[in-house]
């Protein structure tokens, strides 16, 4: 059978229309599946990050509002024994948090300035690289370094890899040291590693991280580093901010205004 050029082009056109027609009709009717997971209430960003204003944070001596809120929200046990303790967010003196910025003649109020520490949700996280089970991984859509406690085998490679001590290991069953269980969040079990998750569960419900919400001094800012108009980007533009050990190449995403 010989087909004329005109007929060939016609046939090609019709079959292409037939192949794509369904999708076109779908999108015209607005029934095409919408992209992206999560509920419409969820807070989303391309790269979550945090800015902490240390002067504001130090205003009230011994304040632990953010730590208490975080640990209550996530069923973090309060274990007295330092060898077994679990922490997601805690305070350390400036000279320990930023050892390279320390010098022996520095003013005492700088040296002892309390610094809030938590997982830096590094953009280049060494913990993720070493985890053999992918129990910890960086969420591509927003940069959060996540934990899957179902998968963690407790090898603690990630603890060795993290240069910030952001991770804790459950040496004992944590349930016995939780004053009040929060049913909205699971506990962990003996033998797994845990750390801050930037409150991914709260973000999915449209809520800010528990520490940000709890801070009575509004010293903690949370937002999208990828959005030039975000509050944290404005702050980073106008204030001098430092990060912990950036020279290691981990690209930590917690910024401290000193």
């Amino acid at each position: 059978m010989i087909i004329s050029r005109k007929k060939f082009l016609k046939l090609t056109g019709i079959s292409m229309l037939a192949a794509t027609g369904e999708r076109i009709a779908e999108s015209l009717a607005g029934t095409a599946p919408s992209a992206g997971p999560g509920s419409p209430r969820a807070l989303t960003a391309k790269r979550w990050a945090m800015v902490i204003d240390l002067q504001k944070c130090a205003r009230e001596d011994g304040c632990t509002a953010c730590i208490d809120a975080c640990h209550r929200t996530h069923n973090v046990p309060d274990i007295d024994n330092r060898a077994h303790e679990i922490k997601w967010i805690w305070k350390e003196e400036f000279k320990h948090a930023f050892p390279s910025a320390h010098n022996e003649y520095q003013a005492e109020h700088i040296e002892s300035l309390p610094v809030l520490l938590l997982c830096n949700h590094c953009d280049n996280p060494p913990c993720v690289r070493v985890c053999p089970t992918q129990a910890t991984w960086k969420r591509e859509e927003d940069g959060i370094v996540m934990m899957d406690w179902h998968r963690c085998i407790g090898c603690r490679y990630c603890m060795a890899a993290c240069p910030y001590g952001s991770r804790s290991f459950n040496w004992i069953d944590p349930r016995n040291d939780i004053a009040q269980l929060n049913p909205d969040f699971p506990t962990r079990t003996k033998g797994v590693v845990e750390k801050c998750t930037f409150c991914d569960t709260r973000l999915a419900k449209g809520e800010l991280p528990a520490c940000v919400e709890a801070c009575p001094q509004d010293a903690i800012f949370f937002g999208d580093l990828d959005d030039a108009g975000s509050e944290i980007r404005q702050l980073l533009k106008s204030e001098y901010a430092i990060r912990r050990k950036p020279e290691l190449g981990t690209k930590p995403e917690i910024y401290y205004i000193v």
């Binding site: 997971p37 999560g38 509920s39 069923n75 969420r139 859509e141 996540m146 899957d148 406690w149 179902h150 069953d173 009040q180 269980l181 929060n182 049913p183 909205d184 699971p186 506990t187 962990r188 079990t189 991914d200 999915a204």
Partner: protein
């Protein structure tokens, strides 16, 4: 054939030993299906009873992957209903409020006492008790 009686006796003992687990369970009444307490407020589960009986673990594993790894936090049933993915808040708090009379009874019956789900996932009834 002088040993006939001995052989029969031996066979009888053998049969008794081999069938002991069955006869024991029959006598103890533990061979019967457990009597489960169903929720008062709901007549329908996430999927059919038959599916849940055979495959609830697969469903829970799918939920786990979906929520933790893909950040998809709701489940659409095969007939179009939507549920929040949560063992504690959907399965337990909303329906099977007395875990002991549902989950545990069946788990005990099938010899999977205390699956390690409960090491981390909270039974809300327990938190109420601890708060009191």
């Amino acid at each position: 054939m002088r040993d006939r009686s001995l052989i029969y006796l031996g066979l009888l003992i053998f049969l008794a030993v081999v069938t002991f687990p069955f006869t024991y369970n029959l006598a103890a009444g533990s061979g019967e299906m457990p009597d489960l307490e169903y929720p008062d407020n709901e007549t329908q589960c996430v999927e059919s009873k038959e599916f849940m009986r055979s495959s609830h673990m697969q469903l829970l594993v799918d939920w786990r992957e979906s929520l933790v790894r893909e950040n998809v936090r709701t489940h659409k049933t095969s007939d179009g209903r939507t549920y929040d993915i949560s063992l504690t808040n959907t399965c337990l708090a909303a329906c099977h409020t007395r875990k002991g009379d549902f989950c545990d009874r069946c788990h005990d019956y099938s010899g999977v006492e205390n699956p390690y789900c409960w090491d981390c996932h909270i039974d809300p009834e327990q938190t109420e008790r601890s708060a009191r």
